[in-house]
Structure formats: C-alpha cells, structure tokens
Point group: C3
C-alpha cells in the first residue's frame, strides 16, 4: 500500500495517454508530505494501475460519454488533513491531465480515497529495500 486503481471507459484510450497519467499520479503520491513534512507514502509501496472497461454504459447512453474513477486505498490511521492533502493533489493532477479532453468531450471524473480496514495484511517484496529513504514510513 498505498495503491491507486483507475477504472475508466475505453473511449478515452485514443484521446489521452493513460500511462502518462499513471506516472503523474504516482509522482504526485511520492511528492505529498504530511503535517510534519515527511513523505506520506513509501516509494517502494506506491503503485497505480489503470483498467479500461471491456464493456460499459454511462448516464442515458445517448451520447459518447466518458468516465474515469480513481480509487485510492491507503492504510488506516492517517490524519484528515493528510487525506485532504493527498486528495487535493491527486485531483489537481487528474484535472490537469484531462484538461484537453475535458474541453472536447463529455467526461466525468470521480476521485475517492478509502482507508483499508482489512482483517489480514501481508507483504512479500524486494522493492522496499531499494528505497532507503522510505524505510520506516508507514505503508
């Protein structure tokens, strides 16, 4: 953790580069700091995965509507101000990325952040040791 999963309508793939969006979102996550000036997320646990739907329906279906749903899941326990800081930064990133698309077509973008309340949590990774500065940060 954290992870950000992007579910979207496939009509966006010809119009914008979703890999670029993924990288921009991950960079935003890595550059966000908490109230104490520390990175909110560990580098080795940061990932963004994007999935175009194979089939979809949006609104009344009478036009070529597009939709993007960005859902972040982070570990339980961070402060409300951190949630807002992360959310605002990710929304700004998404708005900037989709600005050219937004001007040209019908599109809805929704961003939600969930705290995980998992009953079991385990990791097996050789990524974290690569990023010394992140050691000790909560996942």
């Amino acid at each position: 953790m954290p992870h950000l999963v992007v579910l979207y309508t496939p009509n966006l793939d010809p119009e914008t580069n979703m890999t670029v969006l993924c990288r921009a979102l991950a960079d935003t996550m890595l550059q966000t700091h908490d109230d104490d000036g520390k990175p909110v997320f560990p580098t080795g646990g940061t990932r963004v995965l994007a999935y175009p739907a194979a089939h979809f329906a949006v609104a009344d279906g009478k036009a070529d509507y597009a939709f993007v749903y960005l859902n972040m899941r982070m570990a339980h326990g961070r402060s409300a101000s951190t949630h807002k800081r992360v959310g605002d930064a990710l929304l700004m990133c998404a708005k900037a990325h989709f600005q050219p698309v937004f001007k040209e077509r019908h599109i809805g973008i929704t961003l939600q952040i969930d705290e995980g309340h998992e009953v079991f949590d385990a990791k097996h990774s050789n990524l974290h040791p690569l990023f010394q500065a992140s050691i000790g940060a909560p996942s």
Copy 2:
C-alpha cells in the same frame, strides 16, 4: 457515484452480450425511485463498467464454470428500503439477462451493494449539467 462494476469470467463473452447487460443495468439504476418517488441516482453520475478476467479459477475447476460478480458502490446514507429496491431491481435485471445462459451452463451470479465510506471524495465533471432533472439529487 453511483457506479456498478461487473467482474466476470471471460468464457461468458462468446455466449452473451455484456454491453447489452451494462446498458440494461444502467437503465435499471436510472428507473429506480426512492420512497418519495424521486430517482435514486442522478443520470450524470450513473455508470456501469464490466471487466472479463484475463485469468481465473472457479470452484474445483473440473468443469467450465462461469461467474459474474456485480458490485455497486453508492453514497452513504440511503435507507434500507432503497438499498433493497435497488438490489432487487438489479438482480432481476441480471437474472433476466442471463436466463438463456443459465439454462445452458454452470454459472454463479452474485450481486452486492456497498455504501462508500471514503475519507475523500471529489468530482470534476461536465456530465451532470446535461441532465437538468437530476440536479439536486444525491450522488
């Protein structure tokens, strides 16, 4: 919000039209009313996204089983009777769609509705203004 995400085994794609299902589910959402006779969902926020798995395993794997998981997420705070009304309508829609498939193969269909308990929620959309009648409805 709301959104409905459909995760399913890819052996269904040659047997039924999942785009038709998505449209039928979206129409069902748009036609559902609450206890006061008002639409439960705003038109501009209604979307259905369906994803066939790239890899899967179902039950004991000894036959060609199929599975469909329909997961709706809606905003927190609607009444239990609204949850039931939406759930019953969506289940009836899914059962009707899969009836020909159900008679011919092994298939399991599960529908669950979650209320979102997100710690951050933001929208950026030019869809909502298209549907005047929906303005004022909760998302």
Copy 3:
C-alpha cells in the same frame, strides 16, 4: 463469495503463468479449514479472477518494477484465527508461485483480506448444488 481478485502489472505475464496461480489460490481456499475442522469456504462459491493492468506506474519508475495485489473479500463474521489461517495459506501459496520470479526481478506482493459489509447481497447460481459437501457452509 468468497472471491479473490488479483490486480497486477502486465510485465509479469511473460514471466509466469497467472492461470496456474489462480488455480493454486482457489485450491488453497478450498483446502483451508476452520477451528472446527470444517471447510472455510463452499466449493461452489470459490473463485479467483486476475487482471493485468493496461497502464501502470510503480514506485519511482526508474526500473522495470512489478506488483501483485491480492484482495480477498469474504463474508462478515468469521473468527480472527480463520482470517489468519486463510491469509497465511494464501500468502504461502503466492510466495511459492512467485519464488522463481522473485529471485530474478524487482517485485512487490501484497495480500489483504476484507470482510464484506454490504447493504444488499443476493445470489443466483446453479453451481452450489453441484457440490453437496459444501451445502450448509457459510459463503
């Protein structure tokens, strides 16, 4: 229910057989017993679905990192010892499957188990009757 959804970076597909992983995870679920020696999950409700991302970003993006996120959702109300038993068994299964990959590349694996807190739950299935021994088991 239960279901296990695997979200992963597509750079893993040429390196390991994810269908084999899905089957191994499903078998692990079917072979897990609770404190009373009964199967934790019904055969007819067990499924694993795996999805490679179409676009992704991991960590700082400076190398070819891979990520696998395994998310199980099971019905509410099982014991903490059952959660741990299921989680440990699934993690062992995933670690064994990815061991050859783990030695060769940068990869992070995260497993989380959620209890569903759905406000509506319905099933329509002709799978459960196929597995008599599972009748009566919670989903």
